[in-house]
């Protein structure tokens, strides 16, 4: 993975010094809270319900075991012994004190980590496919491009006070695991007819209170023009994006109100002006950055592992876990492993310091020292030998990280909600906990098959409910928490915004409602191979509405 050179090290160190000075001036009263706020946000420091929150950047979700150990150290030393992995592949600490934050930033800087631009109205941490460099369906590893974008966007002098936050995601594969169509800019690596690498560019996706799927603005931007094209988009957005209303300030609203064709002509005109300037990417530089992301030297191995298959025959838990939590790897004899951070009844995305250390040790021993954070709030070991899977599973079991539920009904995304967040209008963690307990039975989960439940505690949609197959939005109504259900959302290459199914449910009925929906699906599906999403797309809302609200509703309290 990318290694900092002297320049990056000095850059991060200077940035920490700059922030310390800003904290000092805030405490001395030279900066008002209004003036200080965007500065601390650009360093990842939020003021939440109970305490400050620090969000640490994990660029494109890639980290090594030394960095993971340092995250554990921060959790242990400055927080309450755990951290929370987020849907933007970052980690949040919920209980640091403001005085400790400069020390935390120093500790992080020692392992090339920081909190730059994890918040604020700037270009946020660039995210990428968590299977990058390992999956079999990839055209090119998206991380070199994400790294180039990270460098270009870090403390960008022109784009540090945008109308609103700006999120970029990159996928290198046609199967989109990075949800690029719900980002401000989504980039998909493609090849043109001559085989040259470039990008299909999507603009104006986003969730929040006005969810929109991004529009494709260009089929092919040549690799060398990546930064020039992004800069053209950002400049047009910075100049013309709305600033009168923060809820209408994202680029998706500009796309919607201006129209994609008009916006495209502005962007293309700006692009033509700058494309041959200082931002043109020299080929040799892209290739050089690529070498940092070169895959490890894979051994030549048979496609099957007798050792693993023998172990799976006698160990049902291992066998379930291998079939559910490991994925096809580009190299024979290897698998990609998903480490679930979704134990039944647990808090989605939370990991204790001990668990982080355990993952680091497993990555050292069996995973080429590589770890990924997925936007689905799990961890990933991208390169594990089939032969080693029994040991990896045993070590994960010991750390209570061996739940075989990746992609299943209990693999829930949830925002922190009212338990932590100052914006939230309802709790989301307890809802996730109750649903995951209700469906905890391994057999039942497997029978239900792939199903993504996503829960947000307010309309800002940090829990991605709009793109959940079943989405749950918590709102506050007359002092009560009310949970609204959407169906049919999806964040992949066939992205869709879910449809609201009807009136909401109270906190003590939402799990029952989800169960009714799941049971309805099980009854109407053509067979186990028809997933929830496929079945929903075939039959639409009606059967689910009928089951939830109709005269013959399957539960007594529905009407």
């Amino acid at each position: 993975m990318y290694r900092y050179d002297e320049f990056d090290r000095t850059f991060v160190a200077e940035r920490v010094t700059q922030f310390k000075d800003q904290v000092t001036r805030r405490l001395a009263g030279d900066l008002t809270e209004d003036q200080f706020k965007p500065l601390r946000l650009m360093n990842g420091v939020y003021l939440q319900l109970h305490a400050y929150m620090l969000r640490v950047a994990i660029p494109y979700g890639t980290l090594d075991s030394a960095q993971m150990r340092r995250l554990a150290h921060v959790a242990r030393t400055y927080d309450r012994g755990y951290g929370h992995f987020t849907t933007r592949q970052n980690i949040q600490y919920n209980w640091p004190s403001l005085e400790d934050i400069p020390a935390i930033l120093d500790d992080l800087a020692e392992v090339e980590m920081h909190a730059i631009q994890t918040s604020g109205n700037c270009i946020r941490n660039v995210t990428a496919d968590h299977f990058a460099g390992a999956s079999a369906d990839e055209i090119a590893d998206p991380r070199p491009y994400a790294e180039i974008l990270r460098q270009w966007s870090s403390l960008h002098p022109e784009f540090s006070f945008l109308p609103r936050k700006f999120k970029i995601a990159v996928t290198g594969a046609p199967n989109d695991r990075a949800a690029i169509q719900v980002h401000d800019i989504g980039l998909q690596v493609v090849r043109d007819e001559d085989g040259a690498i470039g990008f299909a560019v999507y603009v104006g996706g986003g969730q929040g209170r006005t969810p929109m799927i991004a529009r494709k603005i260009r089929d092919f931007v040549p690799e060398a023009d990546l930064l020039a094209y992004c800069e053209a988009i950002l400049r047009v957005y910075n100049l013309y994006g709305r600033r009168d209303n923060k809820y209408k300030a994202r680029i998706k609203i500009l796309v919607h109100e201006t129209g994609i064709e008009r916006l495209k002509s502005d962007i293309e005109a700006e692009f033509e002006r700058i494309r041959h300037g200082v931002l043109a990417l020299p080929d040799e530089e892209v290739r050089r950055i690529e070498t940092y992301f070169a895959p490890p030297a894979f051994e030549t191995l048979p496609a099957h592992s007798v050792r693993l298959e023998t172990a799976m025959k006698t160990d049902r838990a291992l066998s379930d876990w291998v079939s559910q939590n490991t994925h096809a790897h580009r190299a024979e004899g290897y698998r990609i492993v998903t480490i679930s951070l979704k134990p039944p009844g647990g808090i989605p995305g939370d990991a204790s310091a001990d668990q982080m250390d355990a993952v680091a040790a497993i990555a050292d021993a069996y995973g080429h020292n590589e770890i990924r954070v997925s936007h689905e709030q799990n961890l990933v070991l991208p390169h594990v030998k089939l032969d080693d899977l029994p040991e990896v599973f045993a070590a994960l079991q010991k750390a209570q990280l061996a739940d075989a539920n990746a992609g299943l009904v209990t693999d829930i995304i949830a925002c922190p909600g009212m338990d932590y967040c100052a914006l939230a209008t309802a709790r989301s963690i307890p809802v996730a906990q109750e649903i995951s307990e209700r469906f905890a039975g391994p057999q039942r989960q497997q029978d239900i098959g792939p199903l993504k439940i996503k829960i947000s505690g307010c309309i800002n949609a940090c829990g991605h409910h709009h793109v959940g197959h079943i989405g749950i939005l918590g709102v506050e109504k007359k002092g009560e928490e009310l949970y609204q259900i959407t169906l049919g959302g999806s964040g992949d290459e066939e992205a869709a915004i879910g449809t609201i199914i009807g009136r909401g449910f109270s906190g003590d009925r939402i799990t029952d409602a989800v169960e009714v929906i799941v049971n309805t699906y099980l009854h109407l599906r053509k067979g186990p191979e028809e997933t929830f999403l496929a079945a929903y797309r075939r039959v639409g809302d009606d059967p689910f509405k009928e089951a939830l609200y109709g005269e013959n509703a399957q539960w007594p309290w529905a009407v």
């Binding site: 002297e6 320049f7 800003q22 109205n121 460098q151 022109e158 910075n238 200082v278 931002l279």
Partner: protein
């Protein structure tokens, strides 16, 4: 008269910002808005005034591009420090339209944003915020002088092997 920070020191300001509904002075240096310039261009061009252009955040350049060489100063407004439109306008003026005169930041101009403004092409700053004035007078310039993206070839030299990295060609403004 406000003092202007440029080249590492405060200078007395010879320019007067004239609102659109104010009468023009007889002579001297006047910064006028875009609407007035477009409306009274012919008269103004013949007057004895030295003219500068003051652009509000969000003013486009389209209809004044041909006139830019007439102005020795262009002032760009930051109505609030968090309104970043004028950063883009500054770069367009410098890099696309080759404006060589003084580019001045006016409005809510604060110490923590001045290093960003400078990189975008501003070279003069109208300061009304007291802590900002004190900090600049003390030689304080909170820049991170390691830039991970190129802006233009103005005032910055490439650093090391990565072609888009930059460091300032000259150190931050000297302490006075």
């Amino acid at each position: 008269m406000q003092n202007i920070y440029r080249d590492g020191r405060f200078d007395p300001d010879i320019w007067t910002l004239v609102a659109d509904d104010e009468p023009l002075p007889e002579g001297g240096h006047a910064l006028i808005g875009k609407a007035r310039w477009l409306e009274e261009r012919d008269v103004l061009a013949k007057s004895r005034l030295s003219l500068g252009l003051a652009l509000a955040a969000g003013d486009t350049l389209d209809d004044v591009v041909a006139d830019l060489p007439r102005f020795s100063v262009i002032a760009l407004e930051f109505p609030k420090f968090a309104d970043g439109r004028s950063y883009s306008t500054a770069r367009l003026l410098r890099e696309t339209h080759g404006f060589k005169g003084e580019l001045r930041a006016i409005g809510d101009v604060l110490i923590d944003q001045i290093p960003l403004m400078r990189r975008c092409g501003f070279d003069a700053f109208a300061i009304s915020n007291e802590p900002t004035r004190r900090a600049l007078e003390a030689g304080h310039f909170p820049d991170v002088p390691y830039y991970t993206q190129p802006i233009a070839d103005r005032g910055e030299v490439p650093a090391g092997t990565r072609p888009w990295l930059r460091v300032p060609a000259a150190p931050a403004p000297p302490v006075r």
